[in-house]
Amino acid sequence: MSFILNGEGREVPADWADESLLFLLREHFGLTGAKFGCGVGICGACTVLVDGAATQSCMMRAGDVAGLSVRTVEGLAEGGALHPVQQAWLDLGVPQCGYCQAGQIMLAVALLDATPRPTDADIDATMEVGLCRCGTYRRIRAAIARAAEAV
């Protein structure tokens, strides 16, 4: 069962196939950016891109990524340069506790990949799944607008 993880070929070990993609990433591959928040697909903290689509990795069976391409927050920066979304997040001081932010960033990346000039309604539709208890929503919205200018 091979798949592409942040641009490189990887194997899903047979005994991890029934695990969720989230825990395969976090515990087998040590990519702890995506977080466990609810386990049932409604908080967005575990969001990664699967073949470019924002996907709640807690809801996907690890074995089902065979042949697909997975991108996580760890795979966004290129050669030490932050992705424009990451940079916008820092410039606007978005994170408070930070726990939800890898998921928020991946949602925003998926949004801007599909819709480079998103309207407020586009932002609402994509970001609605990303819960943030610290209440950073206005900054997330502003950072998406800033990143849209930079992309």
Binding site: F23, Q86, G98, D124, G135, R139
Partner: protein, 688 residues
């Protein structure tokens, strides 16, 4: 299959007995020690080597971005470049660090840190490169950290920001140890205040689940009165399947406790039965009719951090190391030492960034579970609570019931009475042993319940008193403690009194304010919101604008204006928020603003959504669908303005909780003509 602990070798499924019988866990709680820091202790936080400095953070970082603020203080005082100071979280091998609670990190820690940094700076300048230094505290005016300059009063990139946006491991659940296993402690689906324990379970079915490692009976102290049954696996995802296969039958003792929580704290029933025992304002209102008499009720609310609490534990030669995201690492260490019968020196708790604390991560729970499972299996074990456990096994904002009355004559409030019944916030069963509770209940009450009850206005003959009732669901500190619900009650009644006086709510408040800083934030928020203008329009909906203000812990000030729109079915949308905040000298304006924004979102949640469903003394919410928190689409544009001040810096983590809820509730009253009194507000109460 009882009273035994099983371990199966990871691959082979061999079952071996590794422990006999559940230990008798101590029932006397460890009492948290919370000493304020002194300058000598502060010397232990900062060190110098080869031109670089290390700041060991004497606080827990949980999103208040205290790491950034204290690094600013250190850099300013040391005269060090931003990149020359590394910030590290603390562990319990250092001098005790006070629990990170009560928005005191800047107010209480910045000065000792600055004193220590000043002494270190002088020692380094004098050529000292090793050994101890002494601090001779100097007057505040001589400290460079409290003068706005190149670092203090600016907003550098937040500490750990880069790690957050690149997904670097920062949180307790991100810790991985060689040979690590994954555990969970199952508990009965009942009130944790009922005695419960595992009765029987299906070992064979559990063993058939791939990844099964062990069933552990000796799985740590009970949580309240709920004993657990531990399970351990090689993969976290196997735990759900093992739990299901085990099909534990639980022994649950006694009858489900007090089904009627609202009834047991009903303020009118309680005051009808006699005087409230704890007085906050001791004026004596004149007898007679009241012009305002409001009854407000706020239910249980969850902290609902996005991070369910987590810990990794590892034993080596009788010593325990625990990696934890806790607001009180030293308290966790003390509880673990006590629970496992080892000395405090044998336990090290390494603190991590917390994925949202809000007052809820101050107890020792998941850390003890991980330690017990690690001890039983002889391997490091990671435990992260499920979302359902996070709701069910922690403590919550207790419900409160308020009756606020006011009498108005010639445009002024002449008499005031605020009665409240709630449950304990600070002197809870988790914090104070049973024998002591009688004394605290009789003599001091609970300062957490009282917080924010002393209305910050001149109200003539003003009386305020409360009672705190022990409930079958644990309560405790929740952002702002009593200040959120009390501020909501006080500011709703002030608003109602302004209507009776036929006065503008802003002018009416200013006429009752003695404290110039409170008047300052009220005036300023009126100015930036253009108070006399109409609320943000919303086609076909009723709109309104509300105002509130307050003082938090006698140190910091906030005022807010909210606009709302209410549709025909009574659904409320907050359409705009403004907040003015005065916490003295501001170390980091951008992150103080961020705290105000967070508090306003929490205010919105308090008024519109926060409610934790409880049945028969048991939290039944299992997920965010059952206990919703504010979402992206609920939060409008927010404007925050900070008062520039050189008064001593105070906290910002909870202050706006005194103002936000009242502003939103008063806006709903303005929009609909109906005063919200049952929270969270229900659409049915506000339908056109």
């Amino acid at each position: 299959m009882r009273r035994r602990t099983f371990l199966a070798a990871a691959g082979g499924g061999v079952v071996a007995l590794i422990g006999a019988g559940a230990a008798v866990w101590t029932q006397v709680p460890v009492i948290p020690k919370r000493p304020d820091p002194d300058v000598e202790t502060a010397l232990g936080w900062i060190s110098h080597r080869d031109g670089r400095y290390t700041l060991v953070l004497p606080r827990a970082e949980m999103g208040q971005n205290i790491a950034t603020a204290l690094k600013q203080v250190a850099c300013a005082e040391l005269g060090a470049a931003w990149d020359a100071v590394d910030v590290e979280p603390h562990d319990t091998r250092r001098a005790r660090v006070k629990a990170t609670v009560g928005s005191e990190s800047v107010g209480v820690f910045a000065e000792p840190l600055a004193q220590a940094c000043a002494a270190l700076r002088d020692a380094v300048a004098a050529g000292q490169t090793e050994g101890q230094i002494t601090v001779r505290p100097r007057p505040m005016a001589e400290l460079r950290a409290f003068r706005p300059g190149a670092i203090v009063g600016t907003s550098p990139e937040i500490a750990q920001g880069r790690e957050i946006v690149t997904g670097a491991p920062l949180f307790a659940a991100d810790v991985r140890r060689p040979n690590m296993l994954y555990g969970r402690v199952l508990r009965a689906p009942a009130s944790i205040e009922m005695r419960s324990a595992p009765g029987s379970w299906d070992v064979a079915a559990a063993q058939r689940i791939p990844g099964f490692v062990a069933i552990v009976e000796d799985c740590g102290p009970p949580i309240a009165k709920a004993r657990g049954l531990g399970i351990v696996a090689t993969r976290p995802g196997a735990l759900d399947a093992i739990a299901a296969a085990l099909a534990v039958a639980w022994d649950i003792r006694g009858a489900a406790p007090a089904p009627d929580i609202a009834g047991s704290i009903d303020v009118d029933a309680r005051t009808g039965a006699g005087k409230l025992p704890h007085t906050v304002l001791d004026g004596a209102p004149a007898p007679g009719d009241w012009d305002v008499s409001l009854r407000l009720d706020v239910p249980f609310g969850a902290h609902a951090p996005i991070e369910p609490r987590a810990a990794v534990a590892e034993w080596q030669s009788g010593a325990l190391t625990v990696w934890a995201g806790t607001q009180d690492a030293f308290y966790v260490r003390d509880v673990l030492a006590d629970a496992f019968g080892v000395s405090a020196d044998a336990v090290t708790v390494q603190s991590h960034r917390i994925g949202g604390g809000f007052g809820g991560k101050t107890i020792c729970t998941v850390e003890a579970e991980a330690a017990a499972l690690a001890r039983a299996t002889g391997r490091p074990v990671k435990v992260q609570w499920t979302r359902a456990q996070e709701f069910a096994l922690g403590f919550h904002r207790p419900p409160s019931s308020h009756r606020v009355r006011a009498r108005v004559a010639d445009g002024r409030i002449t008499d005031w009475d605020h009665a409240q019944v709630s449950s304990h916030i600070l002197f809870t069963s988790a914090a104070v042993p049973a024998w002591m509770q009688k004394g605290t209940d009789l003599l001091v009450g609970d300062p957490g319940v009282a917080r924010g009850m002393a209305a910050p206005y001149v109200l003539g003959r003003a009386h305020a008193a409360y009672d705190a009732i022990r409930l079958p669901v644990p309560g405790g500190p929740w952002r702002g403690l009593g200040a959120g619900p009390n501020g909501l009650a006080v500011e709703s009644a002030i608003d109602a009194a302004a209507i009776v006086a036929d006065a503008d709510p802003l002018a009416f408040r200013l006429a009752h304010v003695a404290d110039p800083r409170l008047a300052g934030v009220l005036r300023r928020v009126g100015a930036i919101a253009n108070w006399s203008a109409a609320a943000t329009p919303a086609a076909g909906q009723r709109t309104g604008r509300g105002l509130a203000g307050g003082i938090y812990k006698e140190k910091s000030y906030a005022a807010a204006v909210a606009d709302v729109a209410v549709d025909a079915r009574g659904r409320v949308r907050v359409t705009r928020l403004w907040c003015v905040h005065d916490c003295g000298l501001v170390i980091n304006p951008d992150q103080v603003r961020a705290q105000c924004e967070g508090n306003l979102v929490w205010s919105l949640g308090l008024v519109l959504s926060d409610e934790l469903a409880i049945e028969r003394g048991r939290v039944v919410a299992e997920n965010f669908a059952d206990a919703p928190i504010p979402r992206m689409t609920d939060v409008p544009e927010i404007t925050v303005d900070l008062i520039e001040s050189d008064l001593p810096p105070a906290g910002a983590g909870e202050t706006a909780m005194v103002a936000g809820p009242g502003a939103i509730a008063n806006a709903i009253r303005a929009a609909t003509g109906r005063r919200p009194v049952r929270f969270p507000v229900r659409a049915g109460d506000l339908a056109a």
